[in-house]
Symmetry: C3
Subunit: 347 residues, 3 copies
Amino acid sequence: MPRFSALLESLSGADGAEIHLASDPDLEGAAALDQAGKGQLSFLEKDNALSKALSSTGASALLLPCNAELQQQATQLGIAWVALKDPRLGFAEALEQLYPEAKPAAGIHPTAVVDPSAQIGAGVHIGPRVVVGADVVIGADSTLHPGAVLYADVQLGAGCTIHANAVLHPGSRLGQGCVVNSNAVVGSEGFGFVPTASGWRKMPQTGQVVLEDLVEVGCGSTIDRPSVGETRIGAGTKIDNLVQVGHGVVTGKGCALASQVGIAGGARLGNGVILAGQVGVANRAVVGDRAIASSKSGIHGEIAAGEVVSGYPAIPNRLWLRCSAAFNKLPEMARTVRRLNEEKAGQ
Amino acid sequence: MPRFSALLESLSGADGAEIHLASDPDLEGAAALDQAGKGQLSFLEKDNALSKALSSTGASALLLPCNAELQQQATQLGIAWVALKDPRLGFAEALEQLYPEAKPAAGIHPTAVVDPSAQIGAGVHIGPRVVVGADVVIGADSTLHPGAVLYADVQLGAGCTIHANAVLHPGSRLGQGCVVNSNAVVGSEGFGFVPTASGWRKMPQTGQVVLEDLVEVGCGSTIDRPSVGETRIGAGTKIDNLVQVGHGVVTGKGCALASQVGIAGGARLGNGVILAGQVGVANRAVVGDRAIASSKSGIHGEIAAGEVVSGYPAIPNRLWLRCSAAFNKLPEMARTVRRLNEEKAGQ
Amino acid sequence: MPRFSALLESLSGADGAEIHLASDPDLEGAAALDQAGKGQLSFLEKDNALSKALSSTGASALLLPCNAELQQQATQLGIAWVALKDPRLGFAEALEQLYPEAKPAAGIHPTAVVDPSAQIGAGVHIGPRVVVGADVVIGADSTLHPGAVLYADVQLGAGCTIHANAVLHPGSRLGQGCVVNSNAVVGSEGFGFVPTASGWRKMPQTGQVVLEDLVEVGCGSTIDRPSVGETRIGAGTKIDNLVQVGHGVVTGKGCALASQVGIAGGARLGNGVILAGQVGVANRAVVGDRAIASSKSGIHGEIAAGEVVSGYPAIPNRLWLRCSAAFNKLPEMARTVRRLNEEKAGQ
């Protein structure tokens, strides 16, 4: 339960920032602005939808943007505050202080089944009922939660976290600090079948999946290995729940893939690509650096770097907004065209 | 194997209903109208697509709607029947009688790993390989199927069922009679990252997921906890398979979310909302009581109570139907407009 | 490490084919044309996007199509090659030779929990922490990977593979050679609820799921059982990851369902149907033999045999392509119509 002033010491950007400490409350936790009560910290960003909630918040301390009006309002309400360039980042740092995560103790639970050939690093925690196959390598300080299954020949860098009942298939290579959430599957067989006269014949999937450092894979998401070569997720890429990444996909660094995104085999994403929820990317499509696709869009072919696209097939967002608006007026337009056409015929 | 007349005693709405018992068959099971054979019960609703199947059904007994024509037809076919206001409800009740569910015996399987600090209610069944973490509370008569993982600090009300390999993360709170189906994940970390110069930084997700009484979560579905506060699913809400519920979402009571629905962070659903398959709801969207979204629609902003919407972005269903019809005639309309324009230019 | 000439003996279609063996390399593996190095085999199909990569490939041996130009080019590059009618099929066969799959040894791991009433066939491998319920029947030479859960009354044909943490619910019937990938769920309760004054009431799901011979189910996919009768997947049908198959769905033989497809309750697919990624099929829709739906399309009603459809609601692909092109020009068309209308009014 740190005092607000003590907490500030751990926030990047608080050093030298404008600070108002009418009081210096003991902080017992944090909450959203409209739900925060006494002893709680909250935050506000510029143009945040919750700005109106400031007048009625019960928060005792606030991380504010560099905005005189909001600061004045907080001061009048008697709330302690600090002005930060990035209050959201500050809030993330504050939550880490206020709710420190308990790291499970090192050791292997007696119900875990670990192949004798596996190499387990120092400080590793292997929980109940985990299965670790032959020739697996687990980097130091990694945590394997209950029921996780690592097939043979999986390698994890240091500081990885594998959540409950997640599955890593043979050949999977994880860098440092990767997180695989519950029930996710990494390195499973790609969906490759050759049509023959007697039905679909399996194309053996002999490749592997590589997750570079700091990649996170959401719950229930699936990342397939290819027939040959690699499926590769670039460093720092974050993948939400129930996302499908097909065989042979390569993403750049720092991408963000929202829930239920599907990326078909062989597609390529540049660095910093953002795909919103339920977006689909077709086979062998190419998405340039920092391109953004809004939710439910469907990408074929090639998207240039920095583009923002929407719709299916995906087109530039600004065009799509105008097309969608026109779509909603189609019945009216059809009527006008019909009338003009009839009048023309009647001339 | 009850007789039809005996079965009727357990059906709500059968008391005082019109009944035809040319015979009183022993019932050995139930089936759809077009597949039912001797000794089997079936049912029919008004305007049901299977109505035509009545003449050729092999069923020995029927739950019919209050419809003279169908009743006469059944009588002529020599089929015993009862007329109910809600034959589908009657069929649900009948199936419960004909196929009573075996409740697993109370007790903890020796291969389960249960933390000594967990509180296990009376009559609880804990199956093989279940893992129950520290400080977990399990209400009376709950059933945990094989491989389920309950992290620390999970609380279940009475009569809950957790199916095989499902995972409940810390802080999850389930009311009475909740069902979490196989491989579903409740209470996992929300997808919250702050963009920084050195990449995505995790926003700690310190909140929790609350499932009120009688909530059901489908196979493989994922319900995330928020950075602060709650994700809350209202009492009696039913969630199908592979649904994503983002961090901080709040739903009202009695909602139904069909398969592959995705609800982004902070969205709010009223009571009795129905979302059909593959619907997407954007961040912080608000859906009013009893609103309905047809399959694949994408909801932004606000949907009024009772509205039926379709399309992406979602618009009123009736308008969307007309717009979609016009969309299919766009090439023709484009031709007409081009011709009118050329004729105009040529005048 | 077979020589290329030895490998050819196992390829269907290589017998009597045109072969060029400037050298007869020892093959150490296989790779895509643009990534293959010394000692590696690769392949090329007619009109393949990688054709341009031929001139710079490092591959030592190639499976080529019957195309004189490509063959001449390979010869000039000093690469050994064989000309096949179906190089992709040949590559699948070659990968099997080059990367033979290790079959786990028969036996039951001591940490598996197998009900004494289960019948286990000869040569079956049951891995660590597998749970096999009462009255289960497992066909000869099947493999159950770690953490798989088979509820009571599940039956598997010979040669099935159940991957890690997959779940088979009571009544599931699998033919020979089926594959259920990691974290998939087969035979779970269909999403059936009857609306009543006091909320949703469960319709008991007493039916079962049948997977005919050689069906494959992707990671995280879910196949529900119906209230009565069967959900049935036709022989040789391949299902990708995160696919939902609703209660009572029936598919023909040899279908291919790509990732994130959702098929609602009671829909029927003919033989050889192909559904691309994120396609949705509505309740009780009917899709004819060999019909194809492109990604993200939404199918209602009935699709004729052999049709190719797109869009939502799905229409013939060729029409949809023209409608989509016109959609992208809607703002322009709207302007023209407005001008024509104003000019008309001004006449």
